[in-house]
């Protein structure tokens, strides 16, 4: 026992307690630990996304064509505006969060509560926006068909080069196609909901309407102009777009179609490359989950503020700690925004 008694003054200063390594207290330090590790997790996801995108660089869907919706504006092509709005909302909720921290330093309970409340509202609006974004993504707009090789073919108008919906391509054939479910076949075999149109209906519809062409998932490049089957007029290098085929080539490709794709799920999506939807769901979903937990923690802290817990403690440091987490969520979104919507 006696051996543990120290006599030196300097040791007493270091180990006597009340010391803060790096000038930061325990709670905030641990929040930074968590943020660094979480940042590496997100970098891992985004780097994996980058890997797959580089691997399929020629067939990767163009973000402008996928995310082109805006609330209350049907049929209007508005790429990017909606995500830009979402970015604003998140940055603004970050601002109200720092303002809450700032008010906390001045021990102004009322102000902290108001700013925390605004932050929660901002987080809620962001989550709602993301849900709406997912809804549009899952539902899809134009529809497409999948070939036996697994690539996606979309339909365009031969005069304008604009996309055409499946409902405008297909013609009703009145054929019976029953959905396979467990009580009809083997107990282990079933299938997901059938698409609105059968492969035959789409292919026959295409054959009967000469004004339609097929668009592949390959991004057009000027040195493809000489290739067989590439439409001579509709493809140009003024903007990035997918390659449109000639009528003969279109019909040839359609003979190898085996599936009608509407919207997106984890197996296939109408936008093109399959991994695109998987990464979109996984990364924005993981970020959305962070926002969701952030909102929950903010609500908790908000009630503590209102109940006067931190007033009694004479320190609003908890607000600062959740603030760090909230800003981190905003930080991640800045990167997700760039790599999913801009680049």
């Amino acid at each position: 026992m006696g051996a543990t008694v120290t006599t030196a003054n300097s040791e007493g200063k270091i180990w006597g307690g009340g010391n803060e390594p790096m000038g930061i207290n325990y709670g905030k330090m641990m929040m930074w630990f968590f943020i660094v590790s979480d940042a590496l997790t997100f970098s891992g996801f985004l780097a994996a996304y980058g890997f797959s995108r580089y691997k399929f660089i020629e067939t990767w869907p163009l973000a402008d064509e996928v995310f082109s919706h805006f609330p209350f504006m049907h049929g209007v092509d508005a790429p990017m505006y909606y995500v830009a709005l979402m970015t604003f909302i998140l940055i603004f909720s970050s601002v109200t969060m720092v303002l809450a921290v700032d008010a906390g330093h001045q021990m102004k309970k009322q102000k902290v509560a108001i700013y925390m409340f605004l932050t929660i509202i901002g987080g809620g609006i962001f989550l709602g926006s993301q849900a709406w974004e997912w809804k549009n993504f899952i539902k899809g707009e134009y529809g497409a068909v999948e070939t036996k090789g697994g690539s996606i073919l979309q339909f365009v108008d031969a005069t304008t080069g604009k996309r055409v919906k499946l409902s405008d391509v297909a013609i009703p054939l009145h054929e019976e196609r029953e959905q396979l479910s467990r009580n009809k076949g083997f107990w282990f075999s079933s299938e997901s909901t059938l698409p609105a149109y059968s492969v035959n209906e789409v292919v026959e519809g295409f054959k009967s309407k000469p004004n339609l062409l097929v668009r592949t998932e390959a991004t057009y490049h000027p040195n493809m102009a000489k290739n067989v089957g590439v439409h001579p007029e509709l493809n140009n290098s003024t903007h990035k777009h997918k390659t449109i085929l000639t009528r003969e080539e279109s019909l040839k490709r359609l003979s190898e179609v085996h599936y009608v794709v509407e919207g997106a799920n984890l197996i296939r999506n109408e936008y093109g490359q399959k991994l695109f939807a998987n990464f979109f769901f996984f990364i924005t979903g993981f970020h959305g989950f962070h926002v969701f937990t952030g909102v929950l923690i903010n609500i908790l802290i908000f009630f503590n503020v209102v109940l006067g817990t931190y007033e009694k403690r004479r320190s609003y440091e908890m607000v600062e700690k959740v603030g760090l987490y909230w800003h981190f969520v905003d930080l991640v979104w800045v990167f997700v925004f760039t790599f999913f919507y801009l680049v």
Partner: protein
């Protein structure tokens, strides 16, 4: 302990940073919509200048979020470095390795005898 030094409110700086971040976002969206041909068609290290611009602006935004909002500018430099240095070096390393590899796999697919995209 908590009030060893008088805290100075810096709401002015917060709003300034907010305006800065908003302007940068607007610039990004404007570039994303108009896609100036000079930037879009010029490649640097196999990536067009527009994408480089987007990445630069993103890092600029990230810097302000971490420095001003997460208040890293007011922390001791040893804390700052223990947070930023591992992230910066590990991320650059990871991205470099994976993108080079992805590009290689793309080349293998493109020049292979097996038709995979049909």
């Amino acid at each position: 302990m908590a009030h060893a030094h008088e805290y100075v409110s810096n709401t002015k700086r917060i709003w300034k940073v907010f305006i800065l971040l908003s302007v940068v976002t607007i610039v990004e969206v404007a570039f994303g919509i108009y896609k100036p041909a000079i930037l879009h068609d010029t490649l640097f290290l196999q990536m067009n200048l527009l994408n480089w611009l987007f990445i630069a602006l993103t890092i600029y935004k990230a810097y302000y979020i971490v420095w001003a909002f997460m208040h890293l500018e007011g922390e001791k430099s040893n804390l700052r470095w223990s947070i930023v240095a591992p992230l910066v070096f590990l991320i650059i390393y990871l991205v470099f390795i994976l993108l080079v590899e992805g590009n290689y796999v793309f080349d293998v697919f493109k020049s292979s005898q097996i038709k995979w995209n049909f």
